[in-house]
Point group: C2
Chain length 147, copies 2
């Protein structure tokens, strides 16, 4: 399975860069992960269009959205396992930028995922996402989570 994470802008804080890289390394045995960083644009719509330009037609699109659906880590893992079973070869996660999500991006979502009713920066959300993807693969494999 391939996982693509489409984001706006480079990570600025060193601890976030280190944390995200650590989880990307841990995910490697389970999936091929690609991170696309779109430079910040002047408008939400422009950012949205550039994010969507990264999405392959056959990809299942999960948009991170505070107003989306919350899932337990177990249900998130089941969702990924079920997509894999149904022959989905790639999941694309989209994280909007500082301004949020354009309507076009929301409409393109096959699933809108909310981590929490709490707000996180889009940079912090990237760290939570890779941690939960790693956790999902550990759950799918029935392996203990040591970290």
């Amino acid at each position: 399975m391939k996982i693509k994470i489409c984001t706006i802008g480079r990570l600025k804080e060193k601890f976030l860069i280190d944390g995200v890289n650590e989880y990307l390394k841990r995910i490697k045995p389970f999936a091929k992960v690609e991170v696309a960083e779109i430079p910040e644009c002047r408008t939400l719509e422009e950012e949205g269009a550039k994010l969507l330009a990264q999405v392959l037609r056959e990809s299942f699109v999960i948009v991170l959205d505070v107003a989306g659906e919350t899932l337990s880590s177990e249900n998130f893992a089941e969702k990924i396992a079920a997509l894999n079973l149904h022959g989905v070869s790639e999941i694309t996660f989209i994280i909007g930028g500082a301004f949020g999500l354009s309507d076009e991006v929301r409409r393109a979502a096959n699933f809108r995922l909310s981590f929490s009713p709490m707000t996180f920066t889009h940079q912090f959300a990237r760290l939570i996402l890779v941690e939960q993807i790693y956790r999902a693969f550990k759950i799918i494999r029935g392996e203990p989570y040591h970290y």
Copy 2:
């Protein structure tokens, strides 16, 4: 206002240490924060007793619990502001260890807070907590959140 964070064990990952320290530094202008790290014990009950031994009688106790109540960041900020208004001088946050929370700790909670139905390690939860405390103070002050 004083904030005390009672946790089990030392942070193991460098990016978590760096991230937590970064937010503790940012919280400093708003509140006095103390982190108490209880060494891991052999039983949940022992850990619980040692965590509770850290709690001052007049403190308002918020226990992090995946089965607790979720709040938006704005409501979390309102909660902190309201406690302050009502003369609460200290809020104690308790994060259980790898084995979870003892019943005694759950019973001692004035409020049980859940970040998400998703599971995080207790170490990762500490990072989310300090980020949300920092965010809460920025919301209370009406200051923009740049990070």
